[in-house]
Symmetry: C2
Amino acid sequence: MARIKTDDKNLSRKDVIVTKAASLFREKGFKAASMRDLAEAVGVEAASLYNHIKSKTELLHDLCFNVANRFMHKIDEIEAEPISAIEKIEKLLRFHITEMIEHYEEVYVSDREWKHLEDPYLSNFQNQRRLYRKRFAAIIEAGIRQKEVKEIDAPTAVLIMLHAITGIESWHRSTQKISAEALEDNMITILVGGLTNR
Amino acid sequence: MARIKTDDKNLSRKDVIVTKAASLFREKGFKAASMRDLAEAVGVEAASLYNHIKSKTELLHDLCFNVANRFMHKIDEIEAEPISAIEKIEKLLRFHITEMIEHYEEVYVSDREWKHLEDPYLSNFQNQRRLYRKRFAAIIEAGIRQKEVKEIDAPTAVLIMLHAITGIESWHRSTQKISAEALEDNMITILVGGLTNR
């Protein structure tokens, strides 16, 4: 039986499976994707997957919480920095954009397929999502109080910006791509420019 | 057998069916939705639907092209107006936002489910979509030449703005809603503010 290949010595077999699962779940959706499909993508027999993971739901769990943890870690870090609200917003948006460009499949799956998690993980994930958006909105609100940011509804601004960033999906599918750097700079120009109070 | 009820005398029976189909296709997806589900939603037997429409695909066709025609008509109108590029962009964005708020289900379905159209309608729809985005980008490019708009990549700006507007989906699902007017104004503040060259 073929063993699971890892190109990078730092990647565990489980990491390889999680990465393949992300691309499979993005393509087919979590519900439609089967363990058999996954085994085929990894290049092993289905039975041998179970040496590394317990279930399809465990994979979804790992994907969703890996992404959520990265965002939570980043917002912890940014909140603590001695910089202006606008700079915090820009840093956070650049992080979102880089994540969407470099870890597109994981971020896509965690953003769309988390509804298939099971409790208690489902509620835990939803709470983290809600909390993250509140903390993002709080940075914008601080910026409004300091007159750095225009008088807008902060939760709405978060919603608008996060959806704008999902536009990177089309960039991934597009054949006439601009560079990742140009994409990021265009987004920052429009979104941070749109918030800044001049 | 029950007749198809129309609350509004100006709505034809077919209009009622198309409207119910939009909400069904949004909820279940075009593929999963059946004519039986639709008949139930309309409150008639499946057989009687066929007095008004030929197939599920015909309904999708009507939905997609109704929406596409409204957008094409609007951009024709706006292109011809003797106003600045920024004003044209603002008008077009306000139209997108109003459409997403007032005809949410139709716009959602035409934006997500058009892939299930059949040729020649499929290619026709794709061409219209591409053409519309090109015309929108051309307005932005004219604004850049006239120094009204910042130096950005216009097709990317179109992509960012149209995705930001799909954020209205979450607004529809949200329980703590701000008013539709406030939502529209916040979006215009951020997006038009982000493009404007000061």
